[in-house]
C-alpha cells in the first residue's frame, strides 16, 4: 500500500551518505558505504549480525562520528553535530533494546518526544500558568493524537516499566513520532515480537509513512517483513555494502543470496 503513493518520478534525496567509514580503535565497523534515502520512502537496511547496521543508524543520528565520508541531510552537509542537535534537524529513532524512560508514564515519555518543539524558558516554566501551560497543552494535544494513532489510550498514564515488551516497543515508536521527525530511524522494530504484534507494527509503520509522510529507515531481520514494507533495501555485510535496490532486485541478487539469505537458511 505504501508504494502506490510514493511517486517514483520525483525522487528527492533526503539523506545522502557518501563513502562513510567508521572504526573503533582500529576495528573497522563500516567501510566506504554510500547510499541515499529518498523523501517519503521506506528504506530498509539489512544484513547478517555484525554487518554494521546499527553502527550505520548511529552514524545517521550522530551518535558516532565517521572518520571518513560525508553526510548530507536535506541538501546540507552535516559536520560534527551532537545527537541532540541532529534531533532538532528532524531525525528521530527507536532502539533495538528498548530505551524508554522507565520512571515516567507513557504520556510523559511521549511528551518528552516533543522536547524539540517546546521552548518556553525557565521562568515561564516556574510560573507554569500562562505560556508554559499553553505550550504544554498544545503539545499534549499533539501527543494525544499519537496515542490514538498507536491505540495505546488505555495505558496512557501507566509507567512504561510495567508494560509488556510489545507495548513498550509501540510506545517507543510513539516517542519518536511525537518528535514529528522528517526521517525516522527504526532499529529492529519487530525484534522479539510474535506474529500478531509484528502485523500490528507493520501496520503502524506503513500508516506512519502513509499518514504523516514520514521517511523511514529501518533495520530488520525478518526478511518477509522487510520485503513487504520497504520501498528500497540496502544490504550490508562485514561493514560493506553488497546490495542496494528494490526488494525484488535485492531478493534475486546472487551476492546478497550468498552473503545473507544463504547464510540465514
Amino acid at each position: 500500500m505504501s508504494t502506490q503513493n510514493n511517486g517514483q518520478n520525483d525522487k528527492k534525496v533526503m539523506l545522502d551518505l557518501k563513502n562513510i567509514s567508521l572504526s573503533f580503535g582500529g576495528v573497522k565497523a563500516i567501510t566506504d558505504i554510500s547510499f541515499n534515502i529518498y523523501e517519503g520512502e521506506v528504506r530498509a537496511i539489512i544484513g547478517p549480525n555484525g554487518a554494521g547496521k546499527s553502527s550505520m543508524l548511529n552514524v545517521i543520528n550522530g551518535f558516532y562520528h565517521p572518520q571518513e565520508g560525508e553526510i548530507w541531510f536535506n541538501g546540507e552537509q552535516r559536520k560534527g553535530m551532537k545527537p541532540y542537535e541532529i534531533a532538532y534537524q528532524g531525525i528521530a529513532r527507536t532502539f533495538q533494546n528498548i530505551a524508554l524512560f522507565k520512571g515516567m508514564s507513557v504520556l510523559d515519555n511521549l511528551m518528552t518526544g516533543r522536547f524539540t518543539h517546546m521552548n518556553k524558558n525557565l521562568f515561564y516554566q516556574a510560573m507554569w500558568k500562562g505560556p508554559a501551560e499553553q505550550e504544554e497543552i498544545a503539545n499534549r494535544e499533539f501527543v494525544e493524537h499519537i496515542i490514538d494513532f498507536l491505540e495505546i489510550q488505555s495505558i496512557r498514564k501507566t509507567p512504561v516499566g510495567r508494560l509488556p515488551y510489545g507495548l513498550q516497543k509501540r510506545v517507543e515508536l510513539g516517542r519518536a513520532l511525537a518528535a514529528q521527525p522528517k526521517l525516522l530511524l527504526l532499529d529492529e522494530p519487530m525484534a522479539g515480537m510474535n506474529v500478531e504484534e509484528k502485523e500490528d507494527m507493520c501496520r503502524f509503520i506503513l500508516d506512519v509513512n502513509d499518514t504523516f509522510g514520514t521517511t523511514i529507515a529501518l533495520i530488520e531481520h525478518d526478511m518477509g517483513v522487510v520485503m513487504d514494507i520497504s520501498d528500497r533495501v540496502v544490504v550490508l555485510d562485514y561493514g560493506r555494502k553488497i546490495g542496494d535496490g528494490e526488494p525484488n532486485e535485492v531478493r534475486n541478487d546472487q551476492t546478497v543470496i550468498d552473503a545473507y539469505l544463504g547464510v540465514s537458511h
Binding site: I147, S154, D207, D210, T211
Partner: protein
Amino acid sequence: MAANEITQPYPGPGLDTLPKILLHNVRMYPNRDAMREKEFGIWQSWTWTEVADEIERFALGLQARGLKAGDKVLIIGANRPRMYWTIVAAQAVGAIPVPTYKDSVAEEMQYVIEHSEARFVIAEDQEQVDKVLEVKDRCPAVEQIIFDDPRGMKGYDDSFVVDFEAVQAEGADIRAKQPDLFKQMTEQSKGDDISIILYTSGTTGKPKGVVLTFDNVIITSNQVALLDKLTENDEILCYLPIAWVGDHFFVVQAFCAGFCINCPESEETVAADMREIGPTYYFAPPRVFEGLLTNVQIRMEDAAPFKRRMYAYFMDVAKKVGIRKLENQSVGFMDSVKYALGNFLVYGPLKDALGLGRIKLAYTAGEAIGGEIFDFYRSLGINIKQLYGQTESSVFITVQPDGEVYPETVGKPSPGVEVKINDDGEVMYRSPGTFHSYYKNDKATEETKTPDGWVYTGDAGFFMSNGHLRIIDRAKDVGKFNFGKMFAPKHIENKLKFFPHIQEAVTFGDGRDACMAFINIDLGAVGNWAERNNVAYASYQELAAHPEVYNMVKESVEQVNESLLGDELLSHSQISRFLILHKELDADDGELTRTKKVRRKIINERYKPLIEALYNGDDQCFIETEVAFEDGRVAKISGDIKLVDVKTFATDANVAA
C-alpha cells in the same frame, strides 16, 4: 388494564421530531454539554449549540450529496458522537437512519444493507468501510460511504468514500448561502413520520427491521422521562450498541430531557470511563449487572481476610437495611448507624468503583434478572428497577414504580400502555410506542400486530395480585413436562447464572420427565479460583472437566433446586442431572445471539448426544464439535464429558406423585 392518561406527549408543544427538539434544546440549554466523548485523553464536549451546528452542517452536506427524504442511511460504528449526529442529521433531511451492529460480520451486514436498500453508509473507520466495500458489489443501492475516522483512508477512492468532515464542510458552504435551510428542513417532518429502522438481532431467522415513528419513540421516551423526573442535569453513558433500541431510547430521552450523552473511549475502557463520568441514569441488561456482581465477588475473594469479613458483615447489614432505606421505610437507629458506616466503608467505595456512585436511577431489561443480583444493587442504595419492553414497543411496556419494586416482577404498565394476557398466557400490549411495521415484511407485521393495535410479545406471563406483571419465559420456550407441569427454562437458567462461576446455563425439560442442565463455567471466576488453589489447567476444556469444578457446580445446582422448592409453580422443575460443556457457547458458532441469548434450537441439534446421555443416565459421553475462530478458520473440539446426578428436594406435589 386501563391505560394511564398521557398528558404531555412531547417535551414541548409541537416538538414531535428529534431535529425539532434539537433546535428547541439549543434555545433552552445553549451552553450545557449535550455530548461528551472520551477522546485524546479528555472528555471532548459539545454543547447543545455545538451539537446542533455539527448536525446542521452534516445534514446540509448529506442533502447536497443527494440524500433525499425517505432514503435509508446505514450507520455502522461504535458509540461515537458522529454516529448519533448522523441519526439526527438524516432525520432532518427526512431520510431514515438504520443503525446496525458494528461487530456483525460482512454477510450479516450485507443482509441489512441489501434489505434496507441504504443509499448512504456512515462507517466509523477503515475496518467498517472495508466491510462495506467487501459486500458492495452485492448491494448496488449503496452510493456513498462516509467515514468518521480518517486513519488509513488515504488510498481509498475519493468519489465513493468520503470524509465526514468533508461532507460537513460542504454543508457549511451551503449554510453560508442559505442560513435558514436547516430549520426549514426540520419543519418538513411530523410526529407520525418514520424516524428510524432498528434491526432486531432475532433469536431465530433473519433480522427484522422494526420501523418506528417519531411519535413512537418521542412520546414513550418523554413519558418515562417525566415519570422518572429526568432533567438536564442528568448524565448517561452510552455504551450499548447503537443499533439496540435501548441505546436509541437513551438518545431520545437525552433530547427530551436535555441531558448529556457520554460516549466511552473504546470498548475496553467502558468500565474506567463509567467510573469517571459517574452517570446518574443508567440502563444495562441483566448480564451487565451480573457481570459486575461477579467481578465484585471475584475481587473480594482475593481481599485480605479482614476486608472479606468486613465486606460480608456490611453486606448483611445492607441486605437487612438497604432496601428498606431505599424505599423510605423506617429503619432502627442502630441499623441506620451501621448502614451509614457501611456506606462509608463498603457501599460508597464499591458503588464509586463501579461507576455507580452518582446513580439516581438504573434500569434493567431484556431478560429476567436474578433476584439476588437485583437485591444486591438495591441494598447498596442503587435505585435499580426492572422494566419490560421490546423494540416493537419502543422499549417501555411495564415498569416498576418507585416503592413497588419486586425482583420477580417487571412492574406495572407504563404511562399510556395497555397490557393484557391472552388466552394462551401470552402477554399483549397496546401503546403509543407500538411500532409502525416490520420493514418490507408485512406478513410478520400482521402476525405480530393485530389490526386494533395489540401486539403479541411472545412472552408468557401473568398479572400478580398486586397488579404487577410477571414474565415467566419466552412463550415458545415454555414447555411442559411429560407429567403436565409447566417448564420455564429461562427462569431456572437465570437462577444458575447468578453463581459467579457459572457463565451460561441451558436447561431441558420440555416433553421430558425431568429437568436437565448444560453448564458453562465462567473462565474468569473459576480461573481465579484455580489460581488461588494451585489447580493447573491448560484450557477451558481441562478446567471444565476438573472434578473440583464439578463439585462446585454441583453445590450450586443443589442450591438452585432448594430455592425452586419454594416456588409452587416451578418446584417440580428441579434439575436432576447436569454436565459442564467442554467449550463456551459462542455467538460466532451460532449458539448465542449477538446479544448473548441462548439459541435453543441450535443447541438442541448440536448437542443432541449429550442431551440423550443426560436422560439415559450415562456417566460419560463423547462429543465432537466445530468451533469457528475469528479469522474464519474452523477447528474441532472433542472430548469425553462427565455427567453428574444432583440431589433434588421433595415437594408435597412430588411426594403425592
